[in-house]
Structures are given as C-alpha cells and as structure tokens.
C-alpha cells in the first residue's frame, strides 16, 4: 500500500515539474529563458505519456500477451527473423526512424516562435505519433511481420492496397526531391561543403572494396577508418575553400548541383549495394547517432538561452520561411517528431521480425518514437538559440530579403528582429562561408545552431567552422544514403505498379526493365528537385508543405487501418485511441491540401499562383523570376503539376477513408472478431524450438 502512495507521489512530482516548466515557457515574455525549460517540459510529458497512456494501450486496448509467440520466435532463422534483446531492438528501431525529418521540420517551424512547435511536437507524439508507431508495430507483429501495404491489402482489400501503394510512391518521390533540395541549398556556392560531400563518395567506395575483399564482415574496423577519413575531408575542405586554384572548382550553382545529384542518384542506385550504399549506410547511421548524442550533451552542458520569441507575428501566415497560417500549416511542417507516416513503413519492416516478446512492443513502438520526438525538440532548440535576425536571413528567399547582407539586415530589422549587416557577414565568416543568406532547407540553420552549441563545449570560436561543416556533412551524408536507397525502393514500386499495366516492366531480372524503372524513379524526383532549385521562393517553400501533406496523409492511412483493425478485433470501444489522431490528421491534411489548391493568395494556392502568371503572360508581361515567356509558361505548368499532385493526395486520403468506413461497418455488424491475424501459437515451457 505504502509503495503505491510513494509511486503516486513521484508521478505527481513529475507532473508538477512539467507543468512548472510549461508555465515558464508560456508565461515568460520579453526576457530570454534557458532552453533547459523546454527539455524539462518535454521529458516530463514523455515520462507521463509512457507510464500511463502507453500502458493503457498495451494492457487495455491491445492486450499484449506475453505467452504468444512473436514472428521472430516462430520463424527464427537467425537471419531475417531473430529474437533479439529489447534494448538492442530499441536501438535498431530508433536508428531506423530518426533521420532528416525531425531535424528539418522543427527548424522551419521556428519562424512562428518556439512555443507552437514545442506544443505540437509534444502533444502530437503523445496522442498521435507514438500511438501510430505502436499500433502499426503491433499489427505487423501479429501478422508475421507483414508490411503496411500487405496489411492494408489483407484487412481492407486489394483496391485500397493499390491506392495506398500509389500514395506511398508519390510520397517517396516528393521526399527524395525535398531531401535532395536540402542538400543543394546547403552546398550551393559552398566549396568547403561541396568538397567534403564529394569526398564521401571515394571514401565509401574504398570502404566497400575493403569490406568485400580485404576484411569481410569487419564493420567496426572499416567504419572507424571511414570516420577518420571523413574528418580529414572536413579539414582538407577548409583548405580547398581558401585555395584560389581549387575553390572555384567546387563552387557550384544550385542547378549544377541538382544535375549532379540526379546523375549520382541514377548511378549509385544501380551499383551493387555492398560497393557504395552499405558503407555509406554505416557512416551515416553511426554519425547520426553520435551527433544526436553529442547535441543532447551539448544542450545540457551549455544550457543555451532561447533568442527566438515564444510566439512571433508570423502565425498569421505572413512568414518568409513557409506561407500559411499556424493552422493547418504548422501541423504539416512538423511531421516527424510529432507524427510521421513514414514510421508506419518502418514499424512494419524489420523491427517486428526481431521482437522476442509481445510485451516489448510498447517500449519499442511507443518508446522509440518518444526519443525521436526528443530529437525534434533538440532541433527546435538549435534553431531558436540563434539570433532571430540570423535565423530569418538564412531561411528567407532572396526574393524576399534581397541578395546582400545590407538589404537583408534592412528588411529583417523592419520585421522587428534587429540585425546588422556586420552580424550576418560575421556569422558567415565564423562558419567558413562567404554568405549565409537564403540557405533555406533547415540543414544549414541547424548546422549553425549546432556549431553555436558544440563550439561552446569544445573548441570555442575557432572550431565553429569545423562544427558547422561537420553538421552539414552529417546531414548530407544520410540524405545521400536515403536518395540512393530511396531510388531503389521507388524503382521497385514503379516495377510493381507499372507491371500491372505493362508486364515486362515487372521483370526485375531484366536489365532493361531495371534501368527504365530506375530512370523513371530518378526523373520523377529529379523533376521536382530541379523545379525547387529554380523556384524564386526557394523551393522549400513549395516542396516542404507538399511533403508534409503527403507524410501526414500516410499517417492518416496507417491510423485509418489501425482503427479498422481495432474494430475488426471487436475492440470498437477502444477504437478512439486511433480514431482521435486519425480525425485530427484528416482535418489537417485536407484543410492544408484545400488551401494549397484553392487559396486566393498566390503565395499559398498553386492555382492562384498559376493564374497570376498565366494572366500576366497573356498580357505579354514577364513576372520575376521568369526572364522569358517560355519560363513564364514553365512556371504555370509546374503550378499545375503541384496542384495535380495535391489533388491526388486528397483523393487518396478520401478513398482510404471511404474504404475504411465500409470495411469497419461490415466488421461492426458481425458478432465475432474478423481481423486476420496469424494464428496464435503459445509458448510452452522447455520446448525446444
């Protein structure tokens, strides 16, 4: 009895500390406050959500059964299905879900101040993101580790299966385009960054050959060698940037970089996996985990103060980083970190084939997502510890703030964020760049923020440029890994879907079919990438909302599936657990999609933008940034492509909703559970399996 009171008291204390931290964040106006308050608020929310809500889902809603054999136990082959210690699986799952998303979204959302983003990240992860990951992991675990697409086909039917696959394909294309754009934005006109990133290709190739022919299977060894070479590349990159002979060779325009990336994507994704992709994967995974850890330590040690106001005037939709009001655009800008549809693909990938006991799905599904959310919080902090003037200079397009530090400082100071041209050039100088203006896309901002924090732990001002380029390297490295692997995934999807209409395309043994499908995959994302690079508003402005809508739409689909499955399991009275986030995501994606299509402001609505350019072209007037009539027509055409894509996303969501409701209604009228789980097998003592 006593211990129950004691436990209650502990949790009450956690809740009070959290509430106190929130009060500091929300009520403090005008003075700068320490970022530690955000960390404290986040940790207490995670603790309470994990202890109470995830336990409720595990024991009441899903009724996880510790005696029921998991796929890993049933099919144990030591290779694909391997019962594995839960901490090891947790690490694996976290490494799989943490990537570029939680780092970019919060940085962009910082334009509205630190508070809206923080609140959405915390509430979103607790009620939507972690719930989705947990439910999908559970569904896959009960179905021998089937993928999301397979579960949709199984539980909703073949037509929803095809629709969902089409949706996933579109998301992949937009995701690859937007990630490639982040790299282009970070490297354009930066010889240091361009050299370092180019150097990763020969380094990875060397590692690949080494692990193939010299010391097969020695992952740690080859990774350490690769890591040292990477650090060397950063150092040499600094020399290159200062060399009059070499610097021009690596100073590239955005369009050139886009073509290089497109070419890279094609070549890399047809090479054998072991040669380039696998070693790159080692480096990016370990670097990612290491950087996340050091950022966490850095924030705790330095406890930087937040320079960004809690809420800025840009919640009204007039912000330079992305257009649109707080509702719905904040909720699609921050996806990963609160709720990300992509995780539904990962939670139904390898993780369910590794879990050694059903009970552990809670810690792995719900818990790892909380940790991912914390990464998003750290990214938000890194963006908000920067001087807001610097933040806006980095994230606004040249069309808004002009091309020189003088113009930029003038415009941004006019918004109420005092900044001088000297400050802007000083920051650029500190991080070893010629300019930091209009480097949208999140990565450079995060890199400056990280350099700001980490240089105070190690190295001081002198090391700032090194830390900046380290952060750029770390992001570009795993984005290139994603482009390579993602192009392969897209290629197979094209072959699967296209094979239905033209069977020879589906033949993965045929080099012609493979090359055609790879070419299609690359040109799909390459098209959006190029369009983003030449976009006067910076591209991220257009592509990130599209990606956000797509990603949240996928989360919506996964949660619709989860709701239907809960109803089919005869657990309709618990279905609110997934219906609640489903409803929210549908409202958000449909509103955002609608506004992207039909909003009368050309800054938000694709059709309004197309109309503006088309009518101007009809009058024979060329609008900036177009220089010729042909370019005017191209802008109009691109707007229609974006509009069509948005309309397709909306159509996919609505179709899934209709199919979901109809299947749920049929299941509801039955008196027995109709979910198609793999037959339950129970663990017996001393069985030799």
């Amino acid at each position: 009895m006593m211990s129950r009171y004691k436990e209650g008291a502990v949790w009450l204390a956690v809740a009070l500390i959290g509430a106190g931290a929130f009060a500091v964040l929300a009520l403090n106006r005008g003075e700068t406050i320490s970022a530690i308050w955000i960390v404290v608020a986040a940790l207490s929310v995670y603790a309470i959500a994990y202890r109470f809500y995830s336990r409720y889902i595990a024991t009441q809603v899903l009724q996880l059964d510790e005696r029921r054999l998991t796929p890993a136990e049933k099919h144990n082959d030591g290779l694909d299905y391997v019962p594995t210690n839960r901490w090891v699986v947790f690490g694996h799952h976290f490494a799989a879900i943490a990537g570029a998303g939680p780092l970019v979204g919060p940085v962009l959302a910082a334009q509205m101040g630190f508070l809206p983003g923080t609140l959405w990240i915390l509430v979103g992860v607790m009620l939507a993101g972690a719930v989705q990951d947990f439910l999908v992991l559970f569904m896959s675990m009960r179905r021998d580790g089937k993928s999301l697409g397979e579960i949709i086909r199984l539980e909703l039917g073949p037509i929803p299966g095809v629709i969902a696959s089409l949706g996933i394909l579109m998301i992949m294309v937009i995701l690859l385009a937007v990630l490639a754009l982040v790299v282009v934005k970070a490297l354009a006109g930066s010889p240091w960054g361009t050299f370092t990133i180019s150097a990763t290709i020969p380094i990875a190739l060397m590692m690949g050959l080494y692990s193939r022919y010299v010391r097969p299977g020695k992952i740690a060894e080859v990774s350490v060698v690769g890591f040292i070479l990477l650090l060397l590349a950063i150092v040499v990159g600094g020399q290159v940037a200062h060399s009059a002979a070499w610097a021009p060779l690596f100073t590239l325009k955005g369009t050139t970089l886009a073509w290089l990336l497109i070419g890279y994507g094609f070549v890399a994704s047809v090479l054998p996996v072991w040669l380039l992709l696998a070693p790159r994967d080692y480096l990016s995974t370990f670097l990612k985990i290491g950087t996340i850890l050091s950022l966490a330590i850095g924030i705790l040690l330095v406890s930087p103060s937040l320079q960004m106001p809690a809420v800025t005037s840009f919640i009204d939709g007039s912000g330079p980083v992305f257009s649109g009001k707080l509702f719905p655009f904040l909720f699609i800008t921050i996806a990963c970190g609160s709720v990300s549809g992509f995780h539904a693909l990962i939670a139904s990938g390898t993780t369910p084939k590794l879990i050694e006991n059903e009970m552990q799905a809670r810690m792995i599904g719900y818990g790892a997502m909380l940790m991912e959310s914390f990464v998003a919080i750290m990214a938000l902090i890194a963006a908000c510890v920067l001087d807001p003037g610097v933040y806006f200079a980095m994230n606004s397009s040249a069309a808004v703030i002009g091309h020189t530090a003088l113009e930029a400082a003038h415009t941004i100071s006019g918004w109420g964020f005092a900044v001088t041209p000297e400050m802007l050039t000083q920051v650029a100088h500190d991080v070893g760049e010629t300019t930091i203006l209009s480097r949208a896309g999140g990565a450079p901002t995060l890199a400056v923020g990280m350099a700001h924090i980490l240089s105070r732990v190690l190295g001081g001002q002198a090391m700032m440029a090194f830390w900046y380029h380290f952060a750029i390297l770390f992001e570009a490295l795993f984005i290139l890994t994603t482009i390579d692997a993602g192009t392969r995934v897209t290629r197979f999807m094209i072959q699967d879907l296209g094979g239905a209409f033209y069977p020879p395309l589906a033949n993965t043994e045929s080099w012609t079919a493979n090359l055609i499908a790879t070419g299609l995959a690359v040109s799909f994302w390459g098209y959006f990438l190029y369009q983003g690079v030449i976009d006067p508003l910076g591209g991220i402005n257009t592509l990130w909302p599209l990606f956000g809508i797509a990603n949240q739409m996928l989360a919506g689909i996964a949660l619709i599936l989860a709701s239907v499955v809960l109803i089919k399991m005869g657990k309709a009275r618990y279905a609110w657990v997934s219906l609640l986030p489903t409803a929210w995501l549908l409202v958000v994606t449909l509103t955002a999609g609608w506004q992207k299509l039909f909003d009368p402001s050309p800054k938000i609505g694709f059709l309004a933008h197309a109309h503006k350019f088309a009518s101007s072209a009809a009058n024979g007037k060329v609008l900036a940034p177009a220089k010729t009539m042909v370019e005017m027509q191209r802008i109009v055409f691109n707007d229609y492509v974006d509009a069509t894509l948005t309309a397709m996303f909306i159509a996919v969501v609505l179709a899934m909703m209709v199919f979901g409701v109809s299947v749920a209604r049929r299941a509801w009228s039955l008196r027995w559970p109709s979910a198609k789980e793999a037959p339950a097998v129970y663990r017996t003592e001393n069985a030799d399996v």
């Binding site: 030591g78 391997v82 692990s211 990962i346 392969r488 197979f492 990603n551």
Partner: protein, 65 residues
C-alpha cells in the same frame, strides 16, 4: 567487474551492428546448427552482404525521417 564490462561491450557492439541491419553472426550459426551440426552456413562476409542487400536493396521499406 571485468565480466560486466565485457558483457556491456558485447551488448553495444550487437546494438551498433543491428543499427546497420546486421544481426548477431554467432547466434545465426548457432541457430542454423541447432538441429543439424553439419548444416551449411553463410560465411561472415556473405552474412553481412546478405543483410545489406535485404536492408538496402529496395525490397521492403526503409526509413528516411
């Protein structure tokens, strides 16, 4: 004390390897030879390559964000 450190080290190595999609090789061999001590197994290099292909080859989803 020493034993504890060794266990911890083995554990972190296992986690790090699984983060790049490679499960425990010894466990794989033990599993394959559980019923038949003469069962053919992949070599260490083949094992790692097989895992990389499974993880990155494009079949099956892969995380990006």
């Amino acid at each position: 004390m020493f034993e504890r450190w060794r266990r911890w080290l083995r554990f972190s190595t296992q986690t790090a390897r699984l983060m790049v999609g490679v499960p425990d090789y010894e466990a794989y061999v033990a599993r394959r030879r559980h019923f038949n001590p003469q069962a053919a197994v992949l070599s260490r290099g083949e094992f790692v390559r097989y895992c990389a292909q499974q993880r990155l080859g494009g079949r099956g989803p892969r995380g990006c964000c």
